[in-house]
């Protein structure tokens, strides 16, 4: 399992999700804190491409052996890609939560929403 880290180039939602913005699109995932609390992820069943997600609302689930956890959308939009590689290797979410363990890519409906997210320092402070 990876060591605790919160990269500076991401925006964070207090429900332990991250977003990486690129133009009007964003990649979503869960933070190191979230995957550590959950334990080894054994199942991720992504929502279909085309699904509309709403900021602060659950849009999918990740499951460890012991528990299932809702994943909250940090921003609103429409899913344009899902990480299909996680079907065979869901533990990638533990190993590389900010890299190969990304969950979905979203076309943002309101990029201005990003202004309400936390930067790495503020998110880290919220965990203390």
């Amino acid at each position: 399992m990876s060591d605790a880290s919160y990269p500076d180039d991401l925006l964070y939602h207090p429900e332990h999700d991250w977003a990486r913005l690129k133009d009007a699109d964003a990649t979503f995932g869960i933070t190191w804190f979230a995957q550590d609390a959950l334990g080894e992820v054994v199942f991720f069943d992504p929502p279909p491409v085309g699904t509309t997600v709403t900021k602060d609302e659950p849009y999918t689930e990740v499951e460890s052996v012991k528990a299932v956890s809702d994943v909250v959308a940090p921003l609103s939009g429409e899913i344009i890609e899902v990480n299909t590689a996680l079907a065979d290797k869901p533990e990638t979410i533990n190993d590389e939560p900010y890299g190969e363990g990304w969950l979905v890519k979203v076309k943002l409906s309101d990029p201005e929403e990003a202004s309400s997210l936390l930067d790495a320092a503020a998110y880290k402070a919220s965990l203390a």
Binding site: G39, F43, D45, E61, S64, V65, K66, V68
Partner: protein
């Protein structure tokens, strides 16, 4: 029991060991217990392939002794206590008059007129009160010994060899017990466990717990938490009290008729005999999910029924569980669908156990 939110959680004498080993500690039946150290799957596989050690000191102990100890236990326990030899172990149920299951228990016969019964932590006070109430009229003492025992389970194909190397004599066979010095301290060694693997359970003065724990870990046992204990027992379809049965279920529908000997006249025997003769509307079955999805306790089974235990099986690498279904649909091979948070997941009812271990 007072609400745990307002009550300080109790800690076993191994708390510092767990914390130092990086365990995730969670509230469980009023105790702060390790749910995992490195990860449930790793710990689970360590037990299936080699050996793991579990701190189960939260479990309770009740001593029963006196001239009528056997007669008394035969009245409250569902199994045939009078056939339990000295140095023997037996699984049984504590039942209400209507057959409702109060607890499931292992009882060890330490001497002709002395027994030790291990209770589930959440049920200990209830069991003790029930047993003491039923003891009126018997020449017997029913004594709470929960504070006087620490308990470790050492489980896995290498568990016996590993524990035996620390003992001053041979370990007892399966379903037997004996007193030994182990890791230099007096230990009641029991050939029992709840993982489906061979192994032993060790009962001793709690102050010796760190010494016994350290010796076992040093000898190669992997520290394992309650998370792996749950996945291990579910793969072999051992019941978890409070999930798979409780006071609203009788032993027949729970699939525990095998440890009920109605001819002994135990409390609840008439109700159990009636349920056995007439059959029950529902039965506890084991199932495996076909394809994706992990069932969880409380998930509805479509067409009637409910999941009582569910997890991801590290050995079978799929979702597995147990649950109650209408008896006419309880035959292995029957397809069912489980409502896993709004998604219907296909599953097949399987013969128990779901996973076949090599031992004991």
């Amino acid at each position: 029991m007072p609400s745990t939110a307002e009550t300080a959680l109790r800690r076993t004498s191994l708390y510092e060991r767990h914390a130092a080993a990086g365990a995730k500690l969670v509230p469980f039946a009023g105790w702060e217990m390790p749910v995992q150290y490195t990860g449930i799957r790793d710990e689970h596989l360590a037990v299936r392939r080699h050996a793991g050690v579990f701190d189960v000191s939260h479990m309770g102990e009740v001593q029963t002794r006196g001239p009528q100890a056997t007669a008394f236990l035969q009245r409250v326990l569902s199994n045939e206590v009078r056939r339990l030899p000295e140095g023997g172990a037996q699984y049984s149920l504590l039942c209400r008059e209507d057959g409702g299951i109060i607890d499931d228990l292992f009882t060890y016969r330490l001497a002709d007129c002395e027994f030790l019964t291990v209770t589930n932590a959440a049920n200990h006070q209830k069991d003790l009160a029930w047993m003491q109430e039923q003891a009126a009229g018997f020449d017997v003492d029913v004594i709470d010994r929960a504070a006087e025992f620490g308990m470790l389970a050492v489980q896995g194909p290498a568990a016996r060899e590993l524990a035996g190397g620390l003992a001053d004599g041979p370990l007892p066979p399966r379903m037997h017990c004996c007193q030994r010095d182990l890791a230099g301290v007096p230990v009641l060694v029991c050939g029992t466990g709840y993982t489906g693997e061979d192994g032993v359970e060790l009962l001793f003065d709690p102050e010796h717990a760190p010494a016994v724990w350290d010796a076992l870990v040093q000898a190669g046992a992997t520290p394992c938490g309650l998370g792996a204990r749950d996945t291990l027992r579910l793969e072999v379809c051992f019941h978890l009290y409070g999930n798979d049965m409780d006071e609203r279920r009788n032993p027949i529908e729970a699939g525990l008729g095998w440890c009920c000997k109605e001819q002994t006249g135990f409390i609840g025997a008439d109700a159990v005999a009636a349920a056995r003769a007439a059959g029950t509307p529902e039965k506890l079955v084991a199932f495996a999910i076909e394809g994706p999805g992990i069932p969880r306790p409380g998930n509805p089974i479509l067409g009637g029924g409910i999941v009582t235990s569910g997890t991801f099986s590290p050995c079978l690498e799929c979702g597995i569980g147990m649950g109650y279904v209408p008896s006419e649909r309880a035959t292995p091979g029957t397809g069912i669908e489980i409502d896993v948070r709004g998604t219907a997941r296909a599953a097949v009812i399987k013969a128990k156990p779901l996973y076949q271990t090599k031992g004991p």
